[in-house]
């Protein structure tokens, strides 16, 4: 039994419509696959599978998050030999943090900047800190005229001292410019950075009118003996190279009810911290009873950080 002869129309074209469609489909499929696996080309030897997956698939279940935290703890142990605890401290309901600083009292001793340096596992060689203390002329609030590299004894005549750190703005320009949503504002007012998601473009550093963000040009060096083992995923854990970082009001402390490290270190009691939603809190008393201002109010950033004077 022989096959019926094929029609000339089919053979002369060389392929059927079905074949053509199959080829087209295969090409598109291959392209789509190549696109889908393109991130794999970034997969370098020093990136673990888990780390890779976290970088490209964002939503984590609580179990996933616990695994991420354990992974970071293990990695820190392997890198530095130090046992650390990395917690994912979440905002507490009914809490919005506020910070106020008394410019009549601050003497510019920079103990807050040092406490920040130690608490937040900052790079030792560059002396990094989230706090910059400006020595200002009395009668002016022009930040640009503030001097950072003054020396003692303090307070000098006709000067006042203005420590500047992240103002945890309610309208944060650093968040809106981030192209990858690696930085965002949480419900208690803290603006945070996910170091595993940040691509290090430094747009946020440029956008911040308070000079509050820092970039890790290299992996921060902290001697093992000086590593603060109480760490938060979104705060003071050891940062990788090439990511942004910023003050988080010490969220690994404050979200557990503790005071921030810079406040505890202040020898003059110039710093007041608390829950803005609690009408009985010290911070609310300051806002209601002192002469209070925010830095660069005209920019509309709506800071949660306030400066005040005694009478």
């Amino acid at each position: 039994m022989s096959k019926p002869p094929q029609t000339t129309a089919e053979t002369s074209e060389g392929m059927t419509r079905r074949t053509a469609l199959k080829a087209l489909g295969a090409t598109l499929g291959a392209a789509a696959f190549a696109q889908a696996i393109a991130p794999l080309t970034e997969w370098t030897a020093d990136l673990s599978v888990d780390e890779y997956l976290q970088k490209h698939y964002r939503e984590l279940s609580p179990v996933d998050m616990a695994m991420v935290l354990h992974r970071i703890e293990d990695q820190t142990k392997a890198d530095t030999g130090v046992d650390v605890t990395v917690g994912d401290y979440r905002p507490q309901p009914g809490v919005k943090f506020g910070y106020a600083l008394n410019l009549s009292i601050c003497v510019g001793c920079r103990r807050c900047a040092k406490a920040c340096h130690e608490e937040n596992n900052h790079d030792r060689p560059s002396g990094n800190s989230y706090i910059r203390v400006l020595e200002m002329e009395k009668g002016s609030l022009d930040m640009a005229k503030g001097r950072v590299n003054y020396d003692g004894p303090v307070p000098a005549k006709n000067k006042f001292y203005m420590p500047v750190q992240c103002q945890q703005c309610d309208n944060p320009p650093c968040v809106s410019v981030c192209p990858v949503e690696a930085t965002w504002k949480e419900s208690d007012g803290i603006v945070v950075v996910d170091y595993n998601w940040c691509i290090g473009c430094r747009y946020c550093e440029a956008a911040c009118p308070y000079h509050a963000r820092r970039f890790n040009w290299k992996k921060p060096e902290v001697p093992a003996a000086e590593i603060n083992p109480d760490q938060g995923y979104l705060s003071n854990r050891l940062r990788p190279q090439g990511v942004m970082e910023k003050c988080t009001f010490c969220l690994h402390r404050t979200r557990q009810g503790k005071l921030p490290a810079c406040l505890e270190a202040c020898p003059t009691g110039a710093r007041v911290f608390g829950n803005l939603l609690d009408p009985e809190s010290e911070i609310r008393w300051v806002l209601a009873n002192k002469r209070v201002f925010v830095l660069k109010e005209d920019l509309g950033t709506r800071p949660s950080f306030f400066y005040f004077f005694d009478e």
Partner: protein, 232 residues
Amino acid sequence: MKLSASFCLIVPGLVLLALAGRWMLGAGLPGQGGGDVDQHDLPPATVPAEVVAARISTVGSVPSHRPDGWQPKVDTGLRDATGASVEVSCTTCHATREPNRANGAAGVLPTKFHPGLIYAHGNLSCLSCHNADDYDTLRVADGGKVAFAQAQQLCAQCHGPQTRDYRHGSHGGMTGYWDTTKGERVRRTCTECHDPHAPAYPELTPIFPPRDAAARQQADRALTETLLPHHE
């Protein structure tokens, strides 16, 4: 015409704004610690007893770094066999010694027995604060005892604004918890920061000079201005 009209509005407006700004800043910024100068000059007796009682009750006891029975020690100026200075409690001498009620103003202190004591605290006499009946405690104006560790109750008698701010957590600092439902907050007593005999806050040497790029740029700029004073 249009230009000059807007000038008429803008220029006085700017002048007013500048004046208001100067007034606000000028009034506020030099205020460092200026509030209590007058109070130092007031003799303690001018504060009525009921005001004193009210102030003490508003400040109350606080959880302190110093335990309840804490007492200051007086350096005798002597050295023991190991070379350490010999420090004694107030009662070591005062248990057997009649208090000299005339002692007080700077210059007439028995420096032989209180070596190194610098006194610069208004016109108070020793017994304005020290308790001649019990040198292990302090004495408030109504004769009540106050523990050394709770000195804020004594200081509150004269330093009203500071007491108000201390009570509201905006003077004196603290450690521990902002959320006192989760843990204790420890307050500093006045005398942990202020020398009670010379309470003006001392000058400090700043620590931890910045080494970041911003600081370096600023240093470079300052150097340029020093080397090239006419550089614009």
